[in-house]
Amino acid sequence: MTQELRVTNYPQVLTDRPTHYCPGCHHGTAHRLVAEALTDLGLVENTILVGSIGCSVFIYNYLSLDAIESPHGRAPAVATGIKRARPDKIVFTYQGDGDLASIGMAEIMHCANRGENITTIFVNNTVYGMTGGQMAPTTLVGQKTTTSPSGRSQEDTGSAIRMTEIIASLGGVAYAERVAVNTIKNIKKAQKAVRKAFEYQVKGLGFSFVEVLATCPTNWHMTPLAANKRIETEMIPYFPLGTYKDVLAKEEK
């Protein structure tokens, strides 16, 4: 018999409708972390969501926020325009790994480097989910996808890009952290990180970035449990969790 463990309360901004996500997918958890942070900080009515292209394209169906859909990869540019037009609003992008780290690499790098006072939630599941499991820029070497059927070859295609490390190196970044949501302990840490990212935006400190390591059981051809386990055994060793930049860290200590 399983026991239900209540980790948090149900935030109002989460709409009461079933998601289209596959069983075991972490998008729902990541959505919820955003919903909790915005609710706890009292930002819901003041926030504009910038969606992207990928499985999370329908995020506006699940978060009850003013929202815009952006072209593939361009969410940081769209968010820049919104923030410049409405500097008093809280603006965030929610992007997957294909969107952010491949077609949208230029936009995320320059948005971060300019120090746009926005937040990016980057959900990295090492695969293109919506289009059916093709190789992504974060696909691990050896990982099989529909466009790397023998496993990703470092020789031909390079290796998985570690975005948080790159983002942390840019001047305009206030906060960069990598989290996972595969265990309750990690969810708790992720909760704090997402909240902190929005807090930094409220304080006007600059660009804040949270990478969430996430499952894609369907395209990984795994059960939800096995996918959850892969986060621990394969992803975290290559994509270490932790804070890579925090402009307030020294003052706190």
Partner: protein, 353 residues
Amino acid sequence: MSQPDRIFIKGNEAIARGALAAGAKCFFGYPITPQNDIPEFMSQAIVDAGGQFVQAESEVAAANMLLGAAACGIRSLTSSSSPGISLKQEALSYMAGSEVPGVIVNVSRGGPGLGDIGPSQADYFQSVKGGGHGDYKLLVLAPGTVQEAYDLTIKAFDLAFKYRNPVMILADAIIGQMKEPVVPWTPEHRDPNEGRTWGLVGAKDRAPRLVKSLFLEDGALAGQNLKLQAKYKRMQSEVDQELFLTDDAELIVVAFGSIGRIVKSTVRKLRAQGKKVGLVRPITLFPFPADVLLGLAKQGKRFITIEHNMGQMVEDVRLAIRTVADSDFYAQLPGTLPTPDDFEEPILKALEG
């Protein structure tokens, strides 16, 4: 006989000043010749006006910044030249699809490819036929003088918000780089809260607003397209053109933008020689003054279209008059500079039939 109300500025600067007069608050750009005066001017002037200037990482990003800012209901613009406009087409399609108003300036240059940095009208097709993916239209305004560049930029913002549609200013390197006296003016009645019924500001005490162009539900995309087409039909009422000595003309020259003004000199010269020629200069390229041309065709007039490209607007002229007449065409070749003398021979030839 001093006229202190006139300022002497480049077309590029006139566009920038027109945008400020129209209340533009955000400018997003990227360097490309021959429009650099616009971002250079804006980098100071729009900030001084309490607005925002961003030199984007690319044309792609600049256009998407425009999408974001304009979705908030804030008057915003981007400017570029032909190769950069190609890169902006993605965002323009999204803006049209999700009904976001904004102004895009194309100080066009020669192509295809890198082409040259000289004047050209070879972006007519990509301006009036949509330009990016999907069935959509931009409103397209083509200034023929520096004053008109100023005036039409103000008009562009009004039209953009009236129809919630992107509007393009299609100029070229001649209009952008030349200086002429301009009488600056500021429009009087502008609703400071325009966009309040649809702009993104945060969902406070109301249902969330959604700016999107994805319509997957059964029939939804068809519905959206029908709605857009109905809007494009309403835009027909905005058609505008200059008619010069057309009443008794036997031959109508159709030319737009810089070529329109240069041909006007040719027409004036030929008139002095007793030749019955007139000019129709479309000011709106979409909507296109098809009815005006058809009306002239029905009077038995003949036509020649002159463009600084290998033949683009001539297709719309022919389409407009197809039931009663046809149009000759003369190409001012890409990479060459037009002068009134160049057009005498082709016009005379067309006049003689």
